[in-house]
Symmetry: C2
Amino acid sequence: MYEKIKEMLENRKFLSIRQQLCDMNMVDVATLLEEFDEDDALRVFRLLPKEEASEVFSYMPKDKQQSIVEAITDRELSGIIDELFLDDTVDLIEEMPANVVKRLLKNTSQEKRKLINRFLQYEEDSAGSIMTIEFVDLKKEMTVPEAFAHIRKTGVDKETIYTCYATDANRVLEGVVTVKDLLLAEEGQKVGDIMDTNIIFAYTDDDKEDVAKKFHRYDLMSLPVVDKERRLVGIITFDDAIDVIQEENTEDFEKMAAITPSDEPYLKTRVIDHAKHRVLWLLLLMVSATFTGAIITGFENAFTVVPALVAFIPMLMDTGGNCGSQSSTLIIRGMALGQIRGRDVFKVWWHEVSVAVIIGAVLAAFNIARIYLFNGHNIKLACTVSFSLYATVIIAQSIGCLLPIGAKKLGLDPAVAAAPIITTIVDAFALTVYFSIAKMVIGI
Amino acid sequence: MYEKIKEMLENRKFLSIRQQLCDMNMVDVATLLEEFDEDDALRVFRLLPKEEASEVFSYMPKDKQQSIVEAITDRELSGIIDELFLDDTVDLIEEMPANVVKRLLKNTSQEKRKLINRFLQYEEDSAGSIMTIEFVDLKKEMTVPEAFAHIRKTGVDKETIYTCYATDANRVLEGVVTVKDLLLAEEGQKVGDIMDTNIIFAYTDDDKEDVAKKFHRYDLMSLPVVDKERRLVGIITFDDAIDVIQEENTEDFEKMAAITPSDEPYLKTRVIDHAKHRVLWLLLLMVSATFTGAIITGFENAFTVVPALVAFIPMLMDTGGNCGSQSSTLIIRGMALGQIRGRDVFKVWWHEVSVAVIIGAVLAAFNIARIYLFNGHNIKLACTVSFSLYATVIIAQSIGCLLPIGAKKLGLDPAVAAAPIITTIVDAFALTVYFSIAKMVIGI
């Protein structure tokens, strides 16, 4: 497609390009524009009709949006902002540098500026920050044909018309009615007769992660958002909920690997920012690992007498770390999905210990055989290593499940640097057990 | 709520219970039932009207579904199956043990049994396996009022009526028309005039993960599924796409921690199955770690001369492991979200090496100072450890980014056991570098 458009651009077949682009999905047009250099992208972008241009613009990454805003005229800019949904406009303003924001606001109607100001006040991770105001607002007293007429008149985006909201004179949310309900109703019925008053809703300051969970739990298409007086102020649509779910998952992946989360895509993040997001945790974990070093130093006489002991340190540490990561990953994910609750702590711990007993037995048995066969039939060494391994597996899985649950009980994020912290703690335990047993068994 | 219903149950206030439950969201009723013991849960369940009972049933976990199926009469069972969506029925049949399946099929109409058989033939992870057949099928020739009449008549579930599909006489998909388009159209217009022929669709054998990506990319509410002849055979709704996204994320979390994925919730998985899902990878990684042990043995004379060297092994190994996990996590997630493609390999590697140069410098500088100050002003030891650390960070981040991209290029799953495998490889490199440098610097 790129070659085709590029060729048409060189042959100045602008009308054909416009036709071609309008036949495409605007998401794909936005992706296509990323392949062009800045000048060509701008030329192609300007060929789009106003409404399509605005839609394509909303799907572009931040840096491309900025270069478009900086290159187009005030008239073009104001056309795009007119067509943008309010939540997209607010996102744009939050992300652009100050000089661009100034130009954006200058080209926004006063009424919209007022709304934008209100939206900017919602906390970053709140329901208010991801809601939009393009929804259909009905009254209880409306008849079915009146309701349809109102929907036709307001005619907002397709995702947002199918669930309509009935509000009273003070804009307090009273009920929900779907277009399906309206279609199946008799002409004489009123909105008040058919609306559902058992409403699932969110407050503006609810956490957006909880909102996303509600979407997932109740299979919602949209969710009304109300203020403290239960006045309807906006709605959240399922596509924004999917975005939140993906973001939260990405954050959990990053946190669990001891990375400070960022919402920039990998290749758009500067090297120095990447380094900043990682180095603090690495430093902290490095310092903690020196305690493990101190433990080793404490047992220096053990391994100077039996140097073979040192060779098993990596195996013990890695296996302990892997067992701990397995447990913590399962528990953290289970908690994120709402399958494991705080009160399950004992049940979970017992589960993990039982699993550890089986896994530990398999690994230890394998290990005894291997060391006995390949390390000069040294049964004492084989038993020392294998017994330490067994203990390490049980300790690792206990810490791996208890730490995340404990963190959550203390109000901390269970995912933060889980695996690395657990690995560091398990290392210390594993080496202490290992050298203590070695001293006893081998009799140093 | 549990106490309230429990009390009403004891006082035999069955009508009040029924009223109370019908006012609730059926998802919440399903959760509530889990708190009751088996007998009480069954008694409460039986109080629900047929349609509600079927909905609650579809939200129950597998084990509760089974105990309900085993306890109710054939008549009740056939009532529930009648009301279930086809995709839920198929899921049920796939998950129940053989004797239950027999009873289920016995109580299903012949027509539905035929459909079930067709659905059971779709591959487990295919689009066909998550689609449903409850959709609205229009013809190009229908006028707008005819289309509305058809929608009212077929009147399927609310998530599935808002996007309608126009098919020709051979059931080949020709266009998509939304209820919004129909509402905004003139009465005299035909479906063929207003439908969109630029359709985003999936084939029955497409991977369901790709389907979920399409939902996310295009903000879809539903997606038509066609067979090889482009005949419309079903649709997928956004709520099922959200489920797929969550499942795939859970799988990636589990794979990255070296766990064989399972779709059972944590506490519903038997201990022996938990052990099975983890022990093989642990064994494999344990055996690989013995190579690291062999490397250490090869340098035995180094640490018998300078025992202090051993104390830094955990710090080097853990830091290398953490750096590798950070890189691989970012890359794997970036690939899963489509932000990083195979052809970006050089760009990504350069990015990671640049980050490693900064991070390595910070960690090494900190380390030189610490060892010099707290390990008897031993500048040679400080330099040896810090230089090895620097090299380890660069190696770890290179492997951490190259391995997942390489795996994907080879058609393997980049997430599988990424962090543990990388840790094992990095350990071997780190220790080789460490002892080699030690030999040179300290002159053993």
